[in-house]
Symmetry: D2
Subunit: 337 residues, 4 copies
């Protein structure tokens, strides 16, 4: 049985997911697409030689009789409405992050899904599908390093453009850490604090860069995340877990060891798209398989909501010298650990 997908939004990431579903992954086919720019939608159908119809809007894609499940890769502010419509239609939906642009919006999705009575939503957090993070979680869960006490993390981009502002360091960048670290530790955040070192000469007026976000968890672990989006040297993701008996670090991407020009060196990636490229395939295959087995197990609406609540607190913490509490409601039994 082949899962028939409808895709809403044919921008860069939308096209990437269409390529995956139609050329790389198993068990799915794209049968309907749309975009705010219908020409882009048609061009995408042609580019990938899809046997798919172009529909006038997202609602029509969601309601199309031959569409079994949705992939939402449209403009962020439209995510919430489309996801709610998909739930109303009783159709499984993979929604790129953010699930909604506000925590309240995420909560409405959580409530709708619970009301529906079965999981339909997977949010696009791909890091839990990365082999490195999986290996790291395996070491933690094995007890080999004891209970995690501290996490030292870094999220570094080579550079960002003039439109990237201080708050986006949370919503567009650190959102990945907020998503993956809860999963890694099976824990939740209770407070956030933001520290601003002197700014790099490579940043601009609207962006305080770098910044350090300090998080505290329910279990009492302390997390520091360095966010540095103009680090110049490359795209570099670091996660070090300090446990009671040892320390485990996220693997560096595998690369050639070179002895040349008086340097013993490994290459550091510069394009973020290369860093987790394999994880996207695993993520979408898991969604396809989950829908086919009517058993979604990937990042849930609740995970999207929890990350959103934490993100709001981090943004508040950017504007105050002190510590900001993060209060997440109790986890509904509907979303088991």
């Amino acid at each position: 049985m082949t899962l028939k997908l409808g895709v809403i939004g044919t921008g860069a990431i939308g096209q990437e997911h269409i390529r995956r579903c139609s050329q790389v992954l198993q068990g799915a086919t794209v049968v309907a697409v749309t975009d705010i720019d219908l020409k882009s939608a048609s061009q995408t159908v042609d580019r990938f030689g899809l046997d798919a119809v172009v529909l006038p809007d997202g609602k029509e894609v969601i309601d199309a009789a031959n569409v079994d499940a949705l992939i939402i890769t449209s403009w962020d502010p439209t995510h919430e409405a489309f996801v709610l419509q998909a739930i109303a239609a009783g159709k499984p939906v993979f929604c790129e992050k953010p699930l909604a642009v506000t925590a309240a919006g995420c909560k409405r999705i959580v409530d709708a899904e619970i009301a529906y009575g079965r999981r339909l939503v997977q949010v696009g957090f791909m890091r839990p599908y990365d082999q490195g993070y999986r290996a790291l979680k395996k070491v933690i869960d094995s007890g080999e390093i004891g209970r995690p006490l501290m996490l030292h993390c870094a999220h570094r981009n080579q550079k960002v453009d003039e439109n990237y502002t201080t708050d986006m360091a949370i919503t567009n960048t650190m959102i990945h850490e907020l998503g993956v670290l809860r999963w890694l530790l099976d824990d939740d955040y209770v407070s956030a604090q933001v520290i601003f070192p002197r700014a790099s000469a490579h940043t601009h007026a609207k962006l305080r860069d770098p910044q350090i976000v300090l998080l505290e968890t329910v279990k009492g672990a302390r997390i520091d995340v360095e966010i540095f989006v103009n680090c110049q040297y490359g795209y570099d993701i670091q996660t070090q877990v300090v446990g009671e008996e040892g320390i485990a670090s996220l693997p560096e991407p595998s690369s050639i060891l070179l002895r040349s020009k008086a340097k013993l060196s490994h290459t550091i990636l510069t394009d973020w798209k290369d860093r987790f490229i394999d994880a996207y395939d695993v993520e979408l295959q898991d969604f396809i398989n989950g829908v086919t087995k009517s058993e979604l197990t990937g990042p849930s609406a609740w995970d999207g909501y929890a990350a959103s609540v934490a993100a709001d607190a981090c943004i508040a913490a950017q504007k105050t010298p002190g510590v900001v509490q993060i209060s997440l409601p109790p986890r509904p039994a509907f979303y088991p650990h």
Copy 2:
């Protein structure tokens, strides 16, 4: 259009390839299988829920009207005959290494394919599909380290059983280096010499372990390959290319960096199956795509023949203290670089 595959041989590797083609890769489906043990064939059909018939023997699979292409994973000595039959039937065939158990047998396949007039055969050398070897070739081809002068290689297994004999270090183990290094350097071997250090206490009477094979190439590069199949500590593949301006080494598999028990450590794999697991997927997808586009570009019958000629020389070199010449006929234009 979906490629309909017939699989001859449902042993371990046969089942792995069936799993790939039916559950992981795109554009193919298994429609017919057979095995010397027909019960194994039927069980495989059931295990993977294939919509496939079990046929009495390889010839019937090859001739089956709905079979577009073959995958041969049967007992080594049967490879040659099945490949020749596939060529006679004008059907593309993926044959696990060795292409044939003798160089003469490989040559017969080369001649048959040339006589047929179009490439139909891909031999199962998967290392050229490994990301690490590809990255290594890219560095070499970029000229960044200058012309390759020396290669220092190691192929180490944790241990082998009592049935593994000295010659198998060439036919079952080093055959991988013989296959991949020609491709890596775009070069051929002209001589071989084998050196035997004192034997490890962990080997047995019929196996001289470790051994070092020295190869010389047409271009004058020198290659040393340490083969150590009872090294105890793990499965470890090393390839270091020493060029005129620098040195590039095959990446270590990516793994967690651990600080524990007074050691700063990475894990070394112990099971060879984990080392190149991704490469098998890429290899078979490339075969499927190549057949679909009627343009096979993977390891050819000629590559299988060249490796076989070199292997014969290495085995001869195991039995003499001196250098053994390797004389490969000129590469037919039919097999371009």
Copy 3:
């Protein structure tokens, strides 16, 4: 000309320094020693076959006519008085850290030295003499990584005994970072904050372990120092400097790379005494040479004072959730950068 040294205190570190001055270094000889336990003093003279007298107390050693310079390795609370007496006697003095047990005490020494009019005091901060820290400073000063924005540091001990209390994490452990980081950055501290993750199961009632100290500098750099003195796995000192254009990390101690038991590993030291052992030699030789040339350039009384002021603030910060200001008086011209 050979510098004649008087040593006050023949405990572990005192004996180590005596061994250095009499058996390893050039240009000095030990001519007088004392200790609160005179028997220990005599035994030390015998052990190292010194041609030295044992005097009844520190004052006598300081005043001994044939003593050119002092090494003070006595009980911490006695340091201040001995250093002041040495200054009064106009004799150069090397004093193990802490220079005094209070910032006020350090300040009295600073004032006395300034009053005397010439540098006589070197405090026992040895890390600036470590090859690794020197290489790190060289990279920073070269501008290769741009201006330092953040430092991520860790000071980990395998374990400590029951007498080690929370405040000692500052006075005995982090004091090394407080000393070396000012020098590394040529900067001073303006505020401190302490964060306590959940405690390790390996600590005890009187010690909150681990803890994280956050420092801010005059230039606006942010420093986080993880102090974890029951980390179990080894003695591990980490210093990573994040600059505007790149990141430089303190070298790991050089060690054998081992492939064994499915691990690719380096050994991590477990005994702190091995970590900076070479630095002690360089430090004392520099003191001897400095005295001989009447030009002390090593860590000064001011450096000891500045570290003490910062340490007091860190201890205050351990007792409050917020940020504690660090106010160091302006640097006297007497102590140039």
Copy 4:
């Protein structure tokens, strides 16, 4: 008691040793020097402010009443005669490598020393005093990796000048490996073979570069040494010991880990003088201490002879395609393991 040294030869290495003995090490002083160019000798006395006389020739230095021991750093062909004169005078002598320019010459020294009846000679092999090689020997001797079966070594220089010829790859470069590997394995060489890859474009007519020397030992270990003296990228010394249960590699020199310009890199040394600089200090201090205790334990005349015999065989092997036997007489009891 201070050892009074006479130094014959005040070239680069001679001056380095004089600096060590007079400014760094303990227990010795230079009291007499000479050089074929007496002006150089006087200038050296001035440069280091030595309280030493300049004597007209080596013989006078050796016979000088106040000279306790000799350091010979003169022109290679003069070593043998000076060492024999020192033995005749019953004075301990440290002689830079080579002990003599022929194996026969080394043998005459061995015979003279045995005839004298007590060890007087130490040859200047400094690698056994290098911390890395010592750590490597410690791992081997611990049995942790089982019996050594193979050694993979490399000796790479960035470049050499026009006067450096093929045979010098043995006499000036590999002589270090010939010296240290016997000590590392407590073994001797029985055969040598030399392999020449195609030459690097960076070499010249009189030098075949790189080359690979294959050695076999009495215990049956196999050693391959890559000698590449125009490798361009740096000065790089590699020694990997493959044992029955694991592999130990010589440590890389400790250096800053840098993240910059899309590279994660360590610096590779380019000047050979920096690589083993600490070892020279340890080596000479050991000589001074050994003489003082009348118990020399460093590299002996026998070690110099054994290396010379092996070097002669390697040079012969450069001129023949086959294997050249190395026949060293039985080790005299006078030179215990």
